[in-house]
Symmetry: C2
Subunit: 657 residues, 2 copies
């Protein structure tokens, strides 16, 4: 058993290009097929599509009026109006109808006088041949090429094909992509039993579902095969089954890493050939690329990593370009924008890193905040606004350095978002949901770095607002002292979001009988702390000092989490016996809550943004009864002053306040 | 019968906003529904979606190795290695597996020594608590909001929902959009008989298909109702049927104009209320917006114009925003780019005009060429790269004026396109198809303005190349004299595309017995000409002068078409008896061809572009046997010199040549 399987990491581009070249020369690409027009949406033309008939197919009226032979009208004038007999020399015609025999022009209904008996019309002006006539073939001429090969068919193309009489369309067959989930612990998502998942006896298999949707969007046809055990023979058999099912491409997921049960590369190597094992990208490093033979031909195969984010990025790097190449078109390319990291982004040299970021557009400059890096954090993809690719040769990005990011969300969504950096509170999610429902153009994006971090970010101009609950031990007043210290010369408003109960969060039934801060120092108690700079941490330290308890006497004091919810989760999972946080977090996970006091949670908003339409919308939400009711229902909140401007700093009191 | 129904045109934005406001206050929006996760792609969340379990649900290994209790390892060092008994103090574990009881850290497999008997491991270093452990709730904590309301569900969101255990998702119900095609001449596309279409007895109904696809992409559920006759009572009945079918929105198509059979507005007015009839946009002017009552509620209704382009633009202006509003999200917004019209674009004041354009990116500047304006030209939408909106207050754009265009194709496609402006030849389509197949990044976009127009465009720097076949009557040499005159000081290469037969195109069997230019002046012969500045027109004029025939003696000499194919089409439809053009056009429509001589059709390519990778790819295609064979198969072409550089102007011969 070797634990250094990734001997030579290729760059992802090298690995992909080499694999695609081998596939192009050794594997058969899916050929063309004919599909009915109504089923051709999102397919890609495999050949030039020619018009089967001209459009219009006949000379037709382009206006409502009378069809005439222009040459007969040349003598008409105001002084000498011309009389034409209806149904002999002039024919009533509506737009789009074919021109009668021996006519070649239309007189608009406005320009004729119809005699009272309805038998004659009179013209006071000559008409030119082909006036107001849509000539046969004006739009397209029979045999003319309507769509070039490699055209993606959208609604407009459907219209052009219909007009051209192309009721069957020659498109590329959708490549059949067989997905083999592998892993003895995996259970089909729909068969999962909750208790098995919670204990870790079973892991839900959902990568295949995500893969299927990605493959569908890239023009492939996914087929999910049964889950296979961690056993080389079973995996080999599954690959053979996929080949028999007609796979154009096989995805093996996972078993691609260097663990004792990771033999995807081994099996592919034995059956066919591994062209790359391990690529210099993160996430996505444990990717295997290869070819397996079947019935005299070769089928491309990819071993995708098990962690969802790695797997998705691996598919986007290797599978999407293959599907595009088979359809002779370019892989879709995301729109990119120029962004500036709020903080330095270190990156491992030699590795191409794909960092998921949230974006905020503040005063015309777009700032990027990285989301958690873990490859398992699948919602770091759904939460991300964009991805920054840090090249292998680069050791990272400096704060504020200019870099391009590939958008995952439409730019208009990002433009309409308020970026809040600072403390975390559950009511921020509530505000976001209500904001989106009432003002679909706007949203609230928040990054949780603690109260102090928020004020510093605001000072650097990185965000629109900051959530903060920093107690000044000397005055007992929240936030104002910290703002005076850290936002010198920046006029800001302090807007109350909520008052909230802080307290100790313990397991249901409080089995260790914890009741106050002194209990945290007990030998049988393990604490879970919040990070430095968070308001909760400062409140704790203040209370400990008041009670004369030394932090070093508390087991777990150095064990930090970044949000109320992860503190509560640590208590729920038994990792700690007690943590400090808000009642809403305890309530959410069914934990017990021992109140230690009420605190103010405020939003710090620069004066310059107070008239911004997004901020105005935000304040309308916070001041609404709907918000207040919902916050009260979460428990532990006071909403009496929600939305009130508590204090204006550096505005009325002058810059020195 | 009034012919001035559009008394007061509202601006499209006013009309839309007023309609949407009425709908919001008087109609019921489609509510939420639950769908299985696997069917939730492209749906939009109707509520915040919370995690049903934490992810990971348990503390799990983040690395392959041994699970230990960190506190027991604190004494380990290189000098004093620590021995732990396997399955008592150290447990073999793979990534992702739950941590055994009483362990809280993982030692990587690389960092332990396994004893020979497999009973013990030794560590030379202490490990920290929670090292290489993915803590329960690290990715998401139970009850945490995973997706905000109004989120469009893509593959990433499916992954996040699966991880969160959200197997059913609360999304907005897809609004049911009933489409009523109306028109006595219409026939369902699949029932059409070719002869009826060619004669104009029937018109194929395909707007409903295009609408269905547009509505599906915008999140609606289309339902196409049977075609109704041009009869007010039948239309009213169809509206009632749609309401009974549960329509959230009804689209009536068409009968919205001012013709004698256009009573959509009348019927809607009688049944309910018309909020707008006629809007100040082109195409799309004859749009009707309104509300009809049904079973105590009101249903929005739109009468869309009959011409496909008008209809599509009307739906995009009015229906897509309504569907978005119902799903509480923003209508999709196209990426825009800065472009410069090659020629002036006049626009009717008071009308918002939507001009479909082709784009070419030449030396970093993007030029726009309008496609035919006709509202019936459905392939002007599929051919267009972008749409330029000229505001109502604007009388048009000047040539080269900066304006933003909304992209219909991905920018990378436009960036990879070579823009040819000039003469038309059928082999250009062939080159484009082959280019795309061999080089998916590249394509050839062509605009047909005649040979001379192409040289002038090239001179202005508006395009990459120009197709030209301009005979110099004095020397009998093609193109060189014209280049010397019109491209002074611009080094260009003349590359042979094809030699081609020019001739007279006549009806099958040549019923009038036309055999030479003298026959064009016969009384029983009607000619169809090409436009001034085209090589074919110049060749004709040269030949007529040679033969001593006066153009004024030729009936139809002033009747002009812009391409070989439309000339051939005019002959096929009987509009003319004879025209001049290439054999390929005659062959394509099964017409007879009387050769009058061979001419050279060349590509004029500026020297600066000769090393451009797109031009190199183009030349590779033109020089390929595949191209030459295909061109020969079209008939009337010589390919002996295809791809050869015939002449270099202003490069070797100096600027004065």
């Amino acid at each position: 058993m070797s634990h250094h399987k990734f001997l030579k990491l290729q760059t992802p581009d090298e690995a992909r290009d080499a694999w695609l070249e081998r596939i192009e020369s050794e594997c058969s690409a899916p050929g063309p097929e004919f599909v009915p027009l109504a089923q051709s949406l999102r397919r890609v033309t495999a050949a030039p599509i020619a018009a089967r008939r001209s459009s219009p197919a006949f000379h037709g009226a382009a206006m409502d009026g009378f069809a005439v032979l222009a040459e007969k009208t040349f003598t008409a004038s105001t002084r000498k109006p011309l009389r034409l007999e209806i149904n002999k020399d002039a024919f009533r015609i509506n737009t789009g109808r074919p021109m009668p025999e021996n006519t070649n022009a239309v007189v608009m209904i406005e320009n004729v006088n119809i005699g009272d008996d309805g038998r004659f019309v009179t013209l006071e002006q000559a008409v030119f041949p082909w006036q107001h006539v849509r000539k046969a073939g004006e739009d397209m001429v029979e045999t003319e090429i309507i769509l070039a090969p490699g055209t993606s068919i959208g609604p407009y193309e459907i219209g052009a094909l219909a007009a051209a009489g192309a009721l069957e369309v020659e498109v590329f067959r959708q490549p059949l992509v067989c997905i083999i989930p592998s892993g003895s612990d995996l259970e089909k998502l729909e068969d999962c039993v909750e208790a098995d998942l919670r204990s870790g006896r079973k892991l839900p298999e959902f990568n295949s579902l995500v893969f299927s949707e990605l493959i569908g969007e890239a023009g492939g046809k996914p087929l999910v095969m049964p889950i296979v055990e961690d056993d080389p023979q079973a995996v080999a058999q599954a690959i053979e089954n996929a080949a028999k099912a007609g796979a154009d491409l096989i995805i093996l997921n996972a078993g691609t890493s260097a663990g004792s049960r990771d033999f995807s590369a081994e099996v592919i190597d034995r059956m066919g050939e591994v062209t790359a094992h391990g690529v210099a990208m993160m996430p996505g490093k444990p990717t295997v690329l290869g070819l397996v033979p079947s019935a005299g031909k070769k089928i491309p195969i990819i071993g995708a990593p098990g962690y969802p984010v790695s797997a998705v990025l691996s598919l986007e790097k290797f599978v999407v370009p293959l599907l595009a190449a088979w359809q002779k078109r370019l892989p879709p390319q995301a729109e990119t924008v120029e962004v500036h990291p709020c903080n330095p982004m270190p990156s491992k040299p030699g590795m191409e890193e794909h960092v998921r970021v949230k974006l905020g557009s503040v005063n015309g400059k777009t700032f990027a905040i990285p989301l958690p890096l873990g490859a398992g954090t699948v919602n770091s993809l759904s939460r991300a606004d964009a991805i920054i690719t840090i090249p292998a040769a680069c050791e990272g990005l400096n704060a504020d350095e200019k870099v391009r990011a590939s958008l995952l969300k439409p730019w208009q969504q990002i433009e309409g978002a308020l970026l809040a950096i600072g403390s975390h509170d559950n009511t921020l999610d509530l505000v976001d949901s209500m904001l989106r429902r009432k003002f679909p153009r706007f949203r609230l994006t928040s990054a949780h770095v603690g109260s102090l971090g928020g004020l510093l970010a605001l000072g650097r101009g990185n965000c629109h607002l900051a959530g903060s609950h920093l107690l000044d031990p000397e005055t007992g007043i929240y936030n104002q002292a910290a703002i005076r210290t850290h936002l010198k010369g920046r006029p800001v408003n302090l807007v109350r979001l909520v008052e909230r109960k802080q307290g100790l969060i313990v397991a249901p039934g409080n089995p260790l009988g914890i009741s106050n801060f002194a209990d945290l120092a007990r030998d049988d108690v393990r604490f879970i702390n919040r990070q430095k700079g968070s308001g909760t941490r400062m409140l704790l330290d203040y209370q400990l000092a008041q009670a004369g308890i030394s932090p070093t006497s508390i087991a777990g004091y150095k064990d930090e989490e970044y949000t109320h919810m992860t503190v509560a989760s640590a208590v729920l999972s038994g990792r700690a016996n007690v943590g400090m946080g808000v009642r809403a977090a305890a309530n959410a996970l069914g934990l017990e809550f021992i109140p230690v006091g009420m605190e103010n949670y405020d939003l710090v908003i620069p004066g310059e943004f107070m008239e911004d339409e997004r901020i105005r919308a935000l304040l309308r939400v916070i001041r609404s009864d709907e918000f207040k009711k919902a916050a009260l229902a979460m428990g532990g909140y006071g909403v009496e002053n929600s939305g009130e401007i508590i204090w204006e700093h550096g505005v009325q009191q002058g810059m020195s306040s």
